[in-house]
Structures are given as C-alpha cells and as structure tokens.
C-alpha cells in the first residue's frame, strides 16, 4: 500500500462515515479545519427550507398531472361507452364556464381538451365519481 493509496483510503473512510449519517464526525472535521459551524448549520437550514419547498412543489405538480391524465382517460372512455353520469358531469362543467361554445360536442373531444376542461376541478372527487360510475 503506497502513500497516496493510504490517503485515499482514509479519505474514503471519512466520507463513507459522513454519508452514512455520522454528523458529529463531519462537524468535528469542520471544526478541526477552522470552519464556522454555526454559519454552516444556518446555511444548511436555509437551503433545506428553500429546496424542500421546491421539491414538494415539483412532486405535487407531477402527481396532479398524473391524476389529470388518469381522469381525462376515464372520461374519454366514459364518453365512448356512453356512460351517462360522467357525461352529465362534463356537460355541466362545459356549460358552466368559458368552454361552452368551444367544446359543445363532447364526442369529438380529445384527451388534451378534456384535460383543459377538468384541470381546475377537484381531481380526487372526479376520479372517485368516475370509478363509482363504472
């Protein structure tokens, strides 16, 4: 074992212990090397607040998109199979909002257009209703 290899192995060991959650070791090493631990802890809190907010937002957005897609496909299926309850529901939505003229003919709606109509609605409620009506 040569000098560089030993150095690397020790560095790997330290990093592996920190990676596995030994925060005291990381702090001790930062202190030894003259860091201001309070400042680092404050900064870690700050980026956690910023990024966990963004991460949650992204996950929620992706989940909503998935639900929207699922609901749109179920509605599309219901229209094709002439299941009355979802058709009535969609008609109500179309008549209640700005889509009244644009989407009068439900038979000709594609998935994207269905998404446009239902995107601001309570998706969980829609899915529940759709699943009950099938």
């Amino acid at each position: 074992m040569n000098l560089i290899q030993i150095q690397n192995q020790i560095n790997d060991l330290i990093l592996s212990e920190i990676k596995n959650g030994d925060i005291d070791l990381a702090d001790e090493l930062l202190s030894i090397s003259g860091h201001n631990l309070n400042e680092i802890n404050t900064y870690a809190d700050k980026i956690h607040k910023q990024q966990s907010f963004l991460i949650k937002g992204l996950i929620n957005k992706q989940n909503d998109e998935k639900l929207l897609q699922k609901a749109a496909l179920l509605i599309d299926d219901a229209i094709k199979n002439k299941i009355q309850k979802p058709i009535t529901y969609l008609n109500t939505l179309v008549n209640q909002n700005k889509f009244a003229v644009q989407y009068r003919n439900l038979d000709k709606l594609n998935t994207e257009e269905i998404i446009e109509i239902i995107k601001d609605q309570n998706l969980l409620e829609i899915l529940e209703n759709l699943e009950n009506s099938n």
Binding site: I4, H48, I55
Partner: protein, 208 residues
Amino acid sequence: MVENNNTKIANQTEIKDEIKKLATKNEYNILLKYVIHRFYLKFNIKTNNDFSIRGIMIKDIIQNIFFSFLSEGKRNWNKEKFPGFRDQFYSALDSEIANTIKSHLKKHNLTYEINESDKTSTTNPFEDQQYLEQIYYALEKLGATDEELILLEPILNKAKRDDIAKEFGISPQKVTNIKKRLTRKLIQIINQLNPSYNYESHTNTKPD
C-alpha cells in the same frame, strides 16, 4: 419497479417516496457537509465563504441531483446496484461533483490533480512504509486500542463488516464501534496526512 435488461430500475413513485425521506433538515445538514468535505478530500478544492466552489454554488449541485431524480428519464435508481436509495443518491452526487469540476476546469483551460487516483505512488517504497508506521504511531499516541490498530488495514481496505467480525471473532456491532472510534482518531491526524488540509475560514463573509 421496472425490470430492464436484468437491471431493476425503480419507478417514479418509489423514487419520490425516498426523495421525501432525504429532503429533511437533518439530511440537508449531512449533504452540505459531505459536499464540502468531498471537494476537499477528493479534489483538494476549498469551499469559499459564500459556499461556492470556483463560482459554482454547492446548493445548486445538491438541488440538481434532487431534480434530476424527479425528472423522468434523467436519473434512474438502479436497485440491483444500489438496494438503498441513499447510496444511489450519493453516487449521483459524487458524479455531479466530479463532472462539475471537470467541466469548470476544461472551460478555463486548467488542469488539476485528483486525489482519487490510487495508481500514483511515491517513488520511494521506504517512504510509504514509513508513512504507514507514522499513522500507527500517531494512532497509538491518541490512545488507539490494540483492536483498533489491528482492524485499521481491513477497514481501510473496505472489507465487509460481517467478514471482519467473522475473521476476528467479534460481533458486527463491535466492528462498527471500532470503525467509528478509528475514524475519529484519523481525523485528528488528518493534518499530517494531508499537509494542506486547511479550509478557508467562513467567519468573514455572510453567505447569500
């Protein structure tokens, strides 16, 4: 989970569940400190007062990894290679750090020496042996027990915990404890191991 060419790739729901566990206050604390240490220990690069490294913010590196796992098709979780997501995440982080440094240096036409290379050796084997002896001596001075000194080499050689336990007739938990104590002693002598180990102070400038 998706089976792909004999590789078990986790689905997005599994990844999201694990990301939520990693995006906690405590984990961010570990992540930030890990990145600071990795830049120095592997690349000899010190963190600046504003938590940037050569103009690259550490927070952006961490965020990129989280977002790349959440963007379908960007980064996968290979469950075959990394049964735990944490290991997959840190492996991606290590690659991101290496790539960030490489592209930065390439952009600025610079070269660097990565500490990672284990092919390099001193020209003098005697110096290498002497170096190892110095480590043992320093550890002894710090009160290392016989067990710690005996287990130093297998631990540095990344021998598996259970294998060490079996070979030395001790419990796996004892191996873990010895490893922890040994690492703490090694960081006490790290200044001797890496003579330039001395970060820039964070006391003068407030981070953004």
